[in-house]
């Protein structure tokens, strides 16, 4: 019992790890590497190191050895969520602990992340978990997940057009698949299948293009015809009599929907547990630099010294960039969305029509969630418009004529930072220490986990990971655009 903790590394994906720290000073780890028989590995630990935690679903390096991660900061242990704890709290009425702490702003941090949405929180989480960097502040002038992260239609997919894009979003999907266990927070990822309908030759050709690139990168997508589309979505009008008949669709089974708030809260809770500080209601007013390097941040709650500022402010990226004089191609357009009253479940897949500029999915509660194109002019207003709901309804009913009696309950909007090539802008800028994770347009939420992982690596090591190298800011001045316009749903 007095032996030092051993360190192991384990085989890649789909391990099932469970830790029961409360049982004793020992931490029992059950490992079942993919493709090999079940094995139990015991990790003896010293009593003072009893608060160990093992995270699940991480891609690791070698065969037969397990990594036990050790928390180094003094933050309070996160209370573990589970069905058992639910029962216990139900019986004892013991209060649940806070999801994240409320702490005062410190005078200095190793990194300040601006924006407590999924990108900022995932970056903070990975900084702490993958690199052990915990003296990090995530600041947001609003509440956690109050920006685009709380306003999107929560669709997760990787059926993009360019190999760089597909690889990137696929990484994100893989992280999403393991996220509930990783964060110990049910994010309700339902991989219910994603359909992008083609209504003309040109569109169908683009679907084939996407399917082919997807398959070559190892992502499950294929082009299917009207009969199979009808089988998957019986309420669709697949007849040839419609104004824009459906010729085929890009079918992407791993795509689906997720509970966006849960993802935001899950990352915030996990990051906080590792020592990261989350500061809501704190607005960045200025970024101080010496020459061409970042020195600190001036906020509404005081000044912070920091060498690194990461811009994760989707919808307001330009405003932050203006503070350091960094010029970007970003232009902000509202993206509206709407939800209906609940009706009995009839739609399991996510359905998108590029030609009809609309997408729709149905939540577990029975509500239909709709999205369409961005507003056709630049604006920072999230007020929403009537013409959005009119066009939306008209196009949805062209696809599914039977549902005219369903009522729209609420509309809202987020702000999309659009780029010329519909790909994000990630990485360094001419100002040293000022990093970008912006330009996420209409496709930012699905990218959160992979972005956080990659940006954390950049912050920690100073090197831009291969996965995001093509999305650098310099590509515009150098004429190296990454053309994703054909796959960015209906954003344009």
């Amino acid at each position: 019992m007095a032996e030092p903790a051993a360190t192991f590394l384990a085989e890649a994906v789909h391990h099932q790890w469970t830790a029961f720290p409360e049982l004793s000073n020992l931490c029992y780890v059950h490992g079942r590497p993919a493709g090999s028989p079940a094995a139990t590995v015991t990790v003896p630990v010293r009593p003072e190191r009893a608060e160990l935690r093992v995270w699940e679903g991480i891609e690791m390096v070698k065969v037969g050895r397990a990594q036990v991660w050790r928390r180094t900061s003094g933050a309070a242990a996160p209370h573990r969520y589970s069905a058992a704890s639910l029962v216990r709290h139900g019986l004892t009425h013991e209060p649940w602990p806070r999801v994240w702490r409320q702490v005062p702003l410190r005078p200095a941090y190793d990194a300040v992340i601006v924006g407590a949405g999924i990108h900022g929180l995932a970056t903070a989480y990975h900084l702490a978990k993958d690199h052990g960097i915990t003296k990090v502040a995530v600041v947001d002038r609003g509440y956690v997940g109050g920006g685009n992260s709380g306003r999107n239609t929560a669709i997760v997919r990787s059926n993009y057009l360019t190999p760089e894009g597909v690889r990137f979003y696929d990484r994100s999907v893989k992280l999403y698949e393991a996220l509930s266990a990783e964060l110990n927070f049910n994010v309700m990822f339902e991989q219910r299948g994603h359909l992008t309908l083609a209504h003309n030759d040109s569109s169908l050709r683009t679907m084939v293009w996407r399917a082919e690139v997807n398959k070559l990168v190892g992502v499950d997508s294929s082009v299917i015809g009207p009969e199979e589309i009808k089988r998957l979505v019986p309420y669709l009008d697949t007849s040839t009599e419609t104004r824009y008949p459906i010729l085929g669709a890009l079918y992407h089974p791993p795509g689906g929907t997720i509970r966006h708030d849960a993802v935001n809260w899950g990352y915030a809770r996990a990051a906080d547990a590792l020592g990261v500080e989350i500061h809501q209601g704190v607005e960045v007013l200025a970024i101080s630099t010496t020459g061409d390097r970042v020195r600190g941040v001036v906020t509404s709650a005081g000044e912070i010294a920091t060498p690194i500022v990461v811009n994760c402010t989707a919808g307001h990226a330009s405003l932050l960039c203006d503070m350091v004089g960094v010029s970007t191609p970003v232009v902000t357009h509202p993206l509206q969305a709407a939800v209906t009253e609940p009706v009995k479940a009839f739609l399991s897949a996510v359905v998108v029509s590029g030609s009809l500029h609309v997408y729709v999915s149905q939540t577990d509660r029975g509500e239909l969630v709709f999205g369409a194109s961005t507003d056709p002019y630049a604006s920072y207003s999230t007020r929403g418009s009537l013409e959005f709901t009119e066009e939306l309804a008209s196009h949805v009913l062209a696809l599914m004529p039977g549902i005219s009696k369903i009522r729209l309950l609420r509309q809202w909007a987020g702000l999309c930072d659009m780029t010329p090539d519909f790909s994000p802008i990630m990485g360094i800028t001419p100002v040293e220490g000022f990093l970008l994770d912006v330009g996420w347009g209409t496709y930012g939420f699905k990218a959160g986990p992979a972005s956080g992982e990659a940006m954390a690596t950049l912050v920690a090591t100073g090197k831009t990971p291969e996965l995001i190298a093509a999305f650098d800011l310099a590509r515009f001045a150098e004429g190296r655009l990454v053309g994703e316009k054909g796959a960015a749903s209906v954003g344009h």
Binding site: G150, V223, P342, G366, A393, S404, R407, L408
Partner: protein, 938 residues
Amino acid sequence: MRPVARRATPTSGRLGPRPGEVIDRARPLRFTFDGRPYLAYEGDTIVSALLAAGESVFSRSFKYHRPRGVLSATFFDPNCTVQVGEEPNVRGAHRRVRNGDVVSAQNVWPSLRYDVKAANQAVGRFLSAGFYYKTFIKPEPLWPAYQQVLKRFAAGGVVGADDPHGYYDHRYAHVDVVVAGGGPAGIAAALGAAEAGAAVLLVEEEPHLGGHLRYGGPEALRLLGELRQELADAKGIEVLTDSVATGRYDGNWIAVHQRSVPGATERLVKVRAGALVVAAGLIERPYVFAGNDLPGVMLSTAAARLVNLYAVRPGTRAVVLSANAEGDAVAALLAAAGVEVAATLDARRAETVVAARGHGHLSSVETSQGRVVEADLLVTATGWTAPTSLLNMAGVRPTYDEAAARFVVGAEPSPGVFATGGLVGDASPEGLVAHGRAVGARAAAAAGCGKGAVLPELSPGPHPALFRSTTHGFVDYSEDVSSKDVFQAAAEGYDSPELAKRYTTATMGPSQGKLELVNFLGVLAEATGRSIGELGTTTWRPPYAPVSLGALAGRPHEPVRYSPIQPYHEAMGAKPLVAAQWIRPDHYGDPDAEVRRVREAVGLIDVTPLGKLLLVGKDTPALLNQLYVNKWSALRVGAVRYGVMCAEDGVVFDDGVCGRLGEDRYLMSTTSSGAGAVWEWVERWLQTAGRHLDVYVTPLTTAYASINVAGPASRTLLSRLVEGVDLAPEAFPYMAVREGSVAGVERCVLWRIGFTGELSYELHVPAGYGLFVWESLLDAGSDLGVGPFGIEAQRIMRLEKGHLIVGQDTDGLTQALGAGLDWLVKLDKADFVGKPELVWQANREDYDRLVALVPTDERTVPPEASQLLGIDGDIVGRITSSRHSPTLRHPICLARLAHHLATPGTVVRIHLPDGRDVPARVAETLAAYDSEGVKLRA
């Protein structure tokens, strides 16, 4: 779980005639509810008729499946949502019964009475707010399985795939003043505005005007009668009832949803108003205590509505909890209507309800003084909420008035936006009328009518702040969120209104917070030790009241464009091709035969959608030089040149030919999909940097029907019909343009160009004569073997000639040199759109090229968009166009290919969608057929 028994003695029933009743006892109606027959009177709502018949349970709640009865008796009553026929989520306390209605409860199984899912109540303590975030984390497959269960439990009615589509209409209105709300203040505002000469639209949610006056006492009814009379006499006021102003958008663009319209299912009225007056009144708030959702517990306004509007006795023995005069009045009303009022609790003296108890219906009430009173009716009057939605949408932030315990706004909170009535303050009905009238006049003045009026004082009176008793109860009835859940959310750190709302889902149900928000904020304030003012609030979003998709969509307006030759195509059974707004003939049954006809004899294709722009002016060559990549100054009269346009980033934007018809007259053609865009592009240049150029543009795309006559016998055919043009090859060479008459139709434009690669002429005929000329050509050439060919045949032939299609063989990043257009781009021009990028492109080597590929295996036609793979399996390009060539008898392709592989002779790997890889060779030239162009120049 025990079933909810039907009571032996109904607590509710019908009363004798009431002075303000809206039912017509002379017109009985029949309907069914869950299969049982019921009677109603015309004017009854579904719920009032059921209550009159002694029913008290209308639904089961969302999560716990608790039986629910009437709460507010309004549209927003969360407990009265039912399915009526094929229509889901009907608000049973608002929808008037129609004869024959088939009504059923939603969200119950097997029935309203014996709902199995009520078992949820037993495990309620474990199903606290956000419980699902804390579980189903592992093993992973359990979550999808639980989601299937959740879906079965989902509240909400049913829609079918083939439900018939109603008739939904849209209407535009332009008025000076819109008044949202037809209570006393709203009616007065409409009258005040109309007096000032304004055109007014008065919108009222209920089927009748009057607001709370309708279910008040004799004085209220008298005042209502006077107002109705004044309204009838006034000019310039249009009244819409059973309608709701549901959204206010930029510039007072207002959406009004008419829920019932003669002759239509529903109508959406889109109003551009000079001014908006919001007179939405006040919504009564429920009170939070244990058992507050039992059937039999309702708001004082619900009791007043039921008694006075529908002559329904809501119970037999009542307890009344009152904090205001309206509550006191209802206690008296109930007593006068024959209800035994067993106790009245005065909340102003700190008397309150601790718990309501009963199984399936209220049976007793525990008071704060420790009494337990037997009762089947508990009426609460604990406060008001201002429905400020429309104002919030206009950017107004209501302030919380502590003394009045509600949010309020000023009468003139924003330019063009006004408020009156309960939203602003409290007064007698006459006082509200006076305020409304003045606000109406001021709104009219803001819209440019009349001189306005002096605004009387109006402010809210004091009211006790009552949100929650000493026990926990429901805060959001439709989401089954209790005050305990709110406390828990706050304790867990979801302590701001937005976070607590999202975590508990409070206010996210069908009434979107109208009955729930302030109680939710009150409880959250209690839980976090802050005041409501400090907490702030969540955002009100449109629509104020839910609007059907049908009403939003209106009638479909999807224009379709046909060429004048369409009747021929239809008669010949051409397969239609949807090309944006145009419907074009794809083929007439056998595209390969059409190709053979063109290559061997002569064929006709209808290319009317081709963009055509007439450019007139001496500076036209300068314009062409600027917009095209090549040179135009030396184009002689009668000559035609091919041109490509790029955007400022050097990306290929459009292509087409342009011919010089006269000294200062040119005819430019564009692709059919680019017709509109190129016209705008030309206009943009001419209105900005080129505004000094003397050029006028006239779009002629639809002024001409365009027919391409192609094949070795095309000259012979035309010689039989064309006059005024010397068709001899020396007189009319390739890439020339002439004007003459065809089949007697004058002023046709003919040019010799060659997309298909054969001797061919493109005729532009005044559109009205298009079909005539087409048929004349077919008649005149029958001995030559003439016949039609469609888009598919044209695609095959252009591919045989290696002609690119912009947007198919190029994409959003293909700059001109990568499209095989090196020969066309004249970089020595001083300026043209795209020049800088093309100069830099010319200095690079590494851009993708456009190549022709010939698959080695003649039987494999690779599908378009198949990817090309390099040695390492990396993607090096893709097939952009692909067909089997009936002329050459092998597959032909165009492809984008990485530069290092683009040399003729290189063998590349095509990866087919079915998984196979096939080799193909890069061809010498893009054209596989007649690469020298001999046939074109015949």
